[in-house]
């Protein structure tokens, strides 16, 4: 089985990289880009039947830093 983990900075945490991307889009002439948030996608190749709780545990312990990041698990 495969799972995809989306890690994003929490709402309210300033994302300087997203902000730089937003500026760059503006200077390319793309108007109306009001915000950009940059995160990560981590794809996991897992033994079949791995419980979602285990994947959440992986996120809590390593894949995300929950002080600043939130995560979402998508089982594929």
């Amino acid at each position: 089985m495969k799972a995809r983990v989306h890690v994003m900075l929490k709402n309210g945490v300033l994302d300087p990289q997203g902000e730089a991307v937003r500026h760059a889009l503006g200077s390319l002439g793309f108007d109306g880009v009001e915000g950009v948030r940059q995160g990560k996608v981590i794809e996991l190749d897992l033994a079949d039947g791995t419980p979602e709780a285990t994947i959440n545990d992986m996120c809590e312990k390593l894949l995300a830093n929950t002080v600043i990041e939130s995560y979402r698990v998508e089982v594929l």
């Binding site: 945490v13 300087p16 312990k61 390593l62 894949l63 830093n65 002080v67 600043i68």
Partner: protein
């Protein structure tokens, strides 16, 4: 005083840290990240700067899961001292031994220069060699030094006098200009600037000497 300096793949300030500790009188042992235990009788564990594990995933995240860091956590839980500089500070936040997190610098640039710091408290083994309010210069060299912490935790840090150093001119966007913080028992210090790079006149400054001398002096008195 017996100190251990952890070496991760990608550490690059480990030997500077050892030199600074030895110059102040410590007996220093280097320990490898795969070691599951610290040598007996270690008083201080120093987590040096560098780019452990290539900063993969997040700065310090992989290092924080290494066998030696389990021993480090146990050492701190026993009341042992720990000092994390730069990448070492990032490792200490990733292990949960210090609150908060270090994010990408607000200006997105790697910052490499000597900065002025205000000593906020002399009430710790690390800062007792200074007076609160002193302005000192330590070099910084980091891309991810933007200290972030939840507002309620920030209030606690301020209320408990746990901010050790603040930047006088914030180089990285850190909340409240914070450059270094102490643990609740004041025996763990993490800071982005490098005291070990300011201990010899040839470094261009010696303001870091008081940190190492003060720390090691405490053990000499004990």
């Amino acid at each position: 005083m017996r100190a251990a300096v952890i070496v991760f793949p990608g550490s690059n300030c480990d030997r500077d840290m050892a030199v600074a500790l030895k110059a102040a009188g410590a007996d220093v042992t280097m320990v490898w990240h795969k070691d599951a235990a610290l040598p007996d009788g270690i008083d201080l564990v120093a987590v040096p700067g560098g780019f452990s594990f290539g900063d993969y995933l997040r700065c310090g995240a992989i290092a924080a899961q290494s066998p030696i860091c389990k021993a480090l956590v146990a050492h701190v839980e026993r009341g042992g001292y720990a000092l994390g500089v730069c990448n070492g500070f990032q490792v200490l936040t990733e292990t949960g031994l210090l609150p908060g997190a270090l994010m990408r610098n607000a200006g997105l640039k790697f910052v490499c220069k000597t900065v002025d710091l205000k000593v906020e408290t002399s009430a710790s083994a690390f800062t007792e060699g200074y007076n609160a309010g002193d302005t000192i210069g330590y070099p910084v060299a980091h891309h991810d030094g933007n200290y972030t912490v939840a507002p309620d935790v920030l209030d606690r840090l301020n209320g408990e006098d746990r901010v050790a150093f603040r930047y006088t001119a914030n180089p990285n966007g850190s909340v409240s200009d914070i450059a270094g913080v102490l643990s609740e028992n004041r025996r763990v210090l993490g800071l982005m600037p490098h005291p070990e790079r300011a201990v010899d006149p040839a470094h261009g400054g010696t303001d870091g000497q008081a940190l190492f001398r003060g720390l090691i002096g405490q053990f000499a008195e004990a």
